[in-house]
Symmetry: C2
């Protein structure tokens, strides 16, 4: 052990620690300075940034012995505190630069170190600094952070005042449509919001630490699991295996379509007979400390009979492939689409026909926080599981039978989540926590390290798409034929739904009268398929928005003008035959046109042989809701001091808190409440009604409508004959209820039928992306220099939240286009290996124009927003690469070597 | 478990905790808000005070289930932070109201709650509030805290500014003699100073938690210790017994006098053959968690053969008493005093002779913090033991052979100590920690609960004293005969030295030409005797200052005037035959006289039949140093930015930091350093030279002189021919050493001889106490309404520190007089049972007058201070009770029932 004296945030501290311990662990686990976040443990992400003797330092890879005695250490806690913000923190609040907030302390500290050194940086200086110091953000697209640092620098130079940045309440007291900072913003910028790992450190002392025994192969029969040696290891309380599971030991996919050939009971909690993918859990060691648990986990002996691993859909579809789930064919679901006339005859006669094949990769979510949760029995003896779940009631139903617990004895709670982007639409560790807690009757804590998180949580399912389109002489699209194959990994949950998305979104945006096609879900042994922002549409649009460009070229039209004549106008229908609820695309393209022309001129002018520049566009569309009659509930309760909203509007980091507050405050405006009088009681199944999962951009519409309804009930009940409102005491005195369940259902909708036809969504979001790229012809490296989005997400609840969603989604789209993948389990199991974009990978120029067409079925006219920016930005990039170079990338990501290969091919056989 | 949402210090927190857990444990151990201190765990001391929904709450006895959901909790961390102090905190710094600082956060929070409710309190309101809310302070005598609250209230009312309270640097840049706040003050008032229990929570994760198996009887033979069942308990790493001790398994008393019949090797680390006192350690359970350790400790089976327990000196001296340490007589040391002529003939002829018997009780130190420590192997594989030790090098020598470790492989460090007042002059848990760490090779942590602390640390040794004095017709004391018996408990360490103190201080203050007497140290089975502030003198003065009053009465003189003609004047010698170095007592009595007369008039005027008032005085003297040639070393090192002082000036809470800084700053004045340029590197045997133990008010003289010497060496080396000073870089360039060992030794002194004659101390402190009391004749309860002290502690280094020492010592004297005891192991093993004084038990009127006679052998004229205020304040109180009521209490404490008994006797047989 080392005894060191440090001055930490201005206070002298004696620290006794292992010289090999990291500064991050010492700060967090010993000193409980949990503002500093540690996730990658590899120096990849910068969440752990602290300042040591004036130098920006990655605490997660700095061993304590390297921190000199009497060092001056500054963590986020030393920069500013709640109610006493530093200019950087105030500016980050003002710009909505903290979304999930997990990377935020690292950025605050990094920005402090930058401004200490350079008080007058350019935007590019800031972007270079964050890139050089590995500050990764997955939510914001970096732009709001750079905006904040520039403003903070101006404040520190005395050119602005902090007050200039602070939100001013409008005269009408209305926060709807404003830049009111989200309620958790202050805690996020000060590092005082406890994420799962922070709450884990603050658990009761009897909490057991869990370590998993996991499969290191992708497909095998289990012969034996021997825990005897592990059970004897120091500190071990119990080693839990499938034998300890009280219930069915399966997580059910639950909402399986009737034509699904599987039954949804395919995912074991703890593997019993087979291993289906790398990382599958075989046993859980429960011990006093994590070190003990890990040491004992290494002593569990597992005998396996290895089986052929089918690591892609074609492999699993091979004739000799065995059934991964015996009794269920590997192709377990098929989805047809049939709209209008048979397409074959049309294709034969059409003036222009193109066809091509595409592959969209297994995009990893790359949240900065890994996966973390804990469980305990509450005071009512309910098994209570905290996790990053964004579908609390959904997961409740998915895991209760497997655990073997009465539903009323299971309670799920969401911890503040350091990003999910959809991976937590699937249960991850919830059932494991439940099994361990039930088997030990002790509180239990489980944290995946980043490699575990990468290999043992779901990913975006790759799709193989063959697409064919035909246009008439005028360039009107007349028919489309599609064939799509979904590699969904070994677990079926939502796999059929995802396959249906192909029917809904391939070709969306255009009035295509005649469509025929077939999609299928394939079971493989690669990472299971989990929802990811814009679920199913990036795959669909890669095919259709690439092919539309090819068709335009064939027709001899500019890609914008070709789209212009084909996009939805009154009378058009979607691929599922639904009439769009608004028609924004024409106006968007009209607005984009001059920008597009200008960009094209600029690209041409700036292009050189070494750096070729180009411009690409793509249309993107997504529904706000789950298919069919989606709906939600929320509880609105009058209190002595204001109103409390109970809701399950789970937060990925997108701003659920602001969503709830903005909607409730608007709905309660007759009462004239201040925002601070509205208390949020969110995301606990014991206290809040079922709002449904937070996915598919449904929350603002579904839960928003439920909140609005509940608030309206309350306001009506409070209204006195004279038009004034009863107080809480008056309500109680008159024996009027103070609590109201708000409800809403999309009863105007219908599920798609066997031909993929129906009106699945009440509200859609629309967008047109324009990417400006520069391709280095020597290296093949593509740089996105600008991204423009025409966006219609209905009326905007909160400008900071919506901007933040757009920027972040676009950044993920650029990563999807150029770098991200989870194919190689060794190479891609960490942030950098998997291709996370850093600040300089995302353009500083992101231009978003809103078309606020109010939605009839959205609360106060709002649609959703989260999915839109990741529908097709990557295709705009791909189209721009083609525009710049003549190279069309059909198999994503467009990493430099692939582009270079394309360039080389062009030289050999010029297009 | 309960899941609760709290707003803690303005930040929303989710807390998951056992409903039975205390709020104190949840705040400290789960949320690591270690500003809140927990010690008594019984609601006795208020160190754990927090504000819950506006109400002052004792966190240590508040179960979490009683804290409502959404409660607003304020801890000291939420009131003010370093560099951002609340007015209460700034005022406490200004008044030196934080000494050891352990109770301080509780007082800050309590004061906040008071001022929130009552912005304009009277001093009595403040005292009543703290009393009612159980805020106990053992260091300050409460007065500085009340001063601080009054000033803070004025600031909050806008009548003063915080800046008015803040220390202003004098124009000459000199801090010697000023009210410069001690360096640790800011951390103490903000709760950011980590005490042992806080450091314990911040230890490395592999740290084992220790629980002792202790004897529940006071004397027994050990037949068997069976650890087999305990070893199997969950989380247990090892159960350590005497068999695991590598060395002699004894703590050596070390400085045993040659005539001592014991050899000093009487105290086992872990008992092997015998149990010698209640609480003796039999085994140490080392486990992952403290709960596991305690559960396993309960499973250790100990077979004992009970022996007769000798719970007082007379019992152990009975003819049939067996030897507690076989081979060593229970009376193991005798100390004679023989000064001048044989006294018998003088007594026979003297005009006035009085004699009486006295007993001073086993005073408990009653620190607010209990006993806490930890150990680990450092990076050089040194066994490193952190504790509250105030004698690091002393303890190093006392425990190394018992542990069986090479001295260079043992390192001792003092943690910030929440008070010791001398009990930590003895090793307590150091050797236990060492044994456990050596046996496990893991870091280990041990914390005594308050009952363990009370029963298993040393106490002030009771003395039985028979005393006889004679005066001539003029009232001059001519002879004294003394007999004193020390009940030293089972362990001999310093027991002979303590007995010598009887020879040195019985009758001190007066020129008594002829003295004969004999004292003895007796081994018993009650709590072992440990040093306690003013070591040996409160017993001595109880006898001589009571008897002086009796003699004055017999002579027919006023007690003040009788003292006046007898106190030291040039030509006088002390009982050991030494000539005093200064003669302050005459001047003191002259100064006191008018105050005394006024007090007597007032007492007479205010006396009623129910409340009788009286005034008493007592002289008090103590040496500054250990006997004979005491000395110290300190290292002074020039650095780039200033000077670092390496010293072992251990801190009880008295202000060692300020002692070092004040002395070094004064000695370095030629260099013109700011105080903040002087870095303190204190109390680690690996880095600081041997300064000796912090006891006997020796530090300011011994270490102060060593620091002065080292600084002078450095200044001389830095001085250039032109009178200017070399910089650090110049020193290095000229290859001059930058580091100097300062040394000092009291070579003018000599140890006392077999007749108790010698010049043991170079510097003494002198005082005269005056107590004003009111005795309720119905209840017997005595209230001290005022205390006045004429004090000569030489030149004053720091006024806040010296004032604080005086107030605190007086408060302990009042407790000694009226309430404190540790006799009944069951009844007296907690703060209230043992009679700790609260704010209203200590007078608000404490009037101290300093007589700053410079000491030739003190650095810059300073003497010590810590012991003086507890030499004889209790006797002033006892004399005042006699003055008020005619009841003389000879057996302390003067609890109401005892006074009442005296009053009743008076009625039956009037004096």
């Amino acid at each position: 052990m080392l005894k060191r004296s440090f001055n930490i945030n201005g206070v002298n501290r004696t620290v006794i620690a292992d010289p090999e311990a990291t500064l991050g662990d010492v700060l967090r686990k010993q000193l409980m300075l949990t503002g500093t976040k540690v996730s990658c443990n590899d120096g990849h992400c910068g969440a752990c940034s602290v300042i040591v003797d004036g130098k920006l330092t990655l605490a997660c890879i700095t061993k304590l012995e390297r921190v000199p005695d009497n060092a001056q250490i500054v963590t986020v806690e030393g920069i500013g505190q709640p109610h006493r913000l530093h200019a950087i923190q105030a500016a980050m609040m003002a710009h909505g630069a903290a979304q999930c907030g997990f990377c935020t302390p690292g950025f605050v500290v990094s920005a402090k170190a930058l401004l200490d050194r350079n008080p007058n940086p350019t935007r590019e200086d800031v972007r270079a600094w964050f890139t050089q110091h590995h500050n990764a953000c997955r939510c914001t697209g970096y732009k709001p952070i750079v905006d904040a640092v520039m403003d903070a620098a101006a404040v520190l130079r005395g050119e602005k005042k902090v007050e200039d940045l602070t939100f001013k309440m409008p005269a009408d007291g209305r926060i709807w449509g404003t830049k009111y900072p989200r309620p958790t913003a202050e805690q996020k910028v000060t590092g005082t919001l406890d994420f799962g790992q922070d709450l884990g450190l603050k658990m009761p002392p009897e909490t057991l630490q869990l370590a998993l025994v996991q499969a290191k192969v992708s497909h095998a029969n289990i012969l034996d699991i021997d825990t005897s040696e592990a059970e004897k290891m120091p500190g071990v309380f119990k080693v839990v295996t499938h034998k300890d599971v009280k219930g069915k030991n399966r997580i059910t996919g639950l909402i399986t379509f009737p034509t699904n050939k599987g039954d949804g009971w395919d995912r074991p909690i703890l593997c019993d007979k087979k291993v289906f993918q790398y990382g599958d859990a075989l046993a859980i060691v429960c011990a006093d400390t994590i070190e003990q648990a890990k040491a004992a986990a290494a002593k569990v002996k597992v005998k396996l009979e290895q089986l052929p691993a089918y690591m892609s859909a074609p492999a699993a579809m091979a004739p000799d492939a065995i059934e991964i789930h015996p009794g269920t064919p590997n192709v377990y679901y098929e989805q047809k689409i049939a709209k209008g006339q048979e397409t074959k005859p049309i294709m034969q006669k059409a003036a222009y026909v193109v066809e091509d094949s595409f592959y969209l990769q297994r995009q990893p979510h790359l949240t900065i926080e890994s996966d973390i949760g804990f469980a305990y029995y509450d005071e009512q003896e309910r098994l209570t599981i905290h996790s990053k779940s964004i579908g609390l009631f959904l997961h409740h139903a998915m895991i209760a039978p497997g655990l073997g617990i009465e539903p009323e004895k299971l309670r799920l709670v969401q911890n503040p989540a350091g990003g999910t982007f959809g991976y937590k639409f699937c249960p991850t560790m919830e059932a494991l926590l439940g099994v361990a807690c039930m088997a030990t009757k002790r509180p239990v804590y489980l944290e995946y390290d980043y490699q575990q998180y990468m290999t043992y949580t779901g990913k975006r399912s790759p799709m193989f798409i063959d697409l064919k389109m035909a246009a008439d002489k005028e360039g009107k699209i007349v028919a489309m034929e599609s064939d799509w194959t979904v590699d969904h990994g070994p677990y079926s949950e939502f796999g059929d739904l995802l396959t249906l998305r192909g029917a809904q979104f391939i070709g969306a945006g255009y009035n295509i009268p005649n469509i025929r096609g077939m999609g299928r879900t394939v079971c493989t042994n690669h990472a299971w398929g989990a929802p990811f922002r814009a679920y199913g549409s990036p795959q669909s649009f890669l095919a259709s928005e690439s092919l539309v460009d090819e068709l335009a070229e064939k027709v001899g039209m500019d890609p914008l003008e070709f789209r212009y004549i084909n996009v939805y106008r009154p009378g058009s229908t979607t691929p599922t035959g639904q009439a769009p609820e608004v028609y924004s695309l024409v106006e968007m393209l009209d607005t984009l046109r001059p920008l597009y022309k200008e960009a094209k001129v600029k690209a041409k002018k700036e292009s050189t042989l070494e750096n070729k520049k180009g411009v690409g566009i793509a249309v993107g569309i997504y529904g706000s809701g789950l298919d069919g009659v989606d709906g939600a509930e929320a509880k609105i309760e009058l209190t002595k001091t204001g109103v409390t909203v109970y809701a399950t509007w789970q937060d990925h980091g997108q701003g659920a808190d602001m969503g709830v507050l903005g909607t409730a405050h608007e709905a309660l405006r007759p009462l004239g409440l201040k925002p601070t009088q509205i208390t949020l009681a969110l995301n606990d199944t014991a206290t809040a009604p079922n709002g449904g999962p937070s996915g598919g951009s449904r929350s603002q519409v579904m839960i928003g409508n439920a909140i609005k309804n509940g608030c309206e009930q309350l306001v009506a009940a409070m209204r006195k004959p004279d038009g004034k409102f009863r107080t809480f005491d008056e309500m109680v005195a008159e024996k009027l209820p103070v609590s109201y369940i708000g409800k809403w259902a999309a009863s105007m909708n219908s599920n798609c039928d066997e031909n993929g036809q129906g009106n699945p969504f009440a509200v859609y979001m629309y967008g047109v992306f324009m990417a400006e790229v520069s391709v280095n012809t020597k290296t093949g490296k593509t740089t996105v220099e600008g991204m423009t989005l025409m966006a219609d997400v209905g009326k905007i609840n909160n400008k900071l939240v919506v901007d933040g969603q757009i920027y972040g989604g676009i950044a993920q789209g650029i990563g999807l286009a150029l770098s991200e993948d989870f194919e190689d389990i060794e190479k891609h199991n960490n942030m950098r290996g998997a291709g996370i974009p850093f600040a300089r990978d995302i353009p500083d120029k992101i231009d978003v124009r809103y078309f606020e067409n109010p939605r009839e079925n959205g609360p106060f006219g709002a649609a959703g927003v989260g999915e839109l920016p990741l529908t097709s930005p990557h295709v705009a990039v791909i189209n721009a690469i083609y525009n710049a170079t003549g190279v069309r990338i059909r198999h994503l990501p467009a990493r430099p070597e692939k582009v270079l290969e394309g360039l080389n091919k062009l030289e050999v056989e010029p297009a």
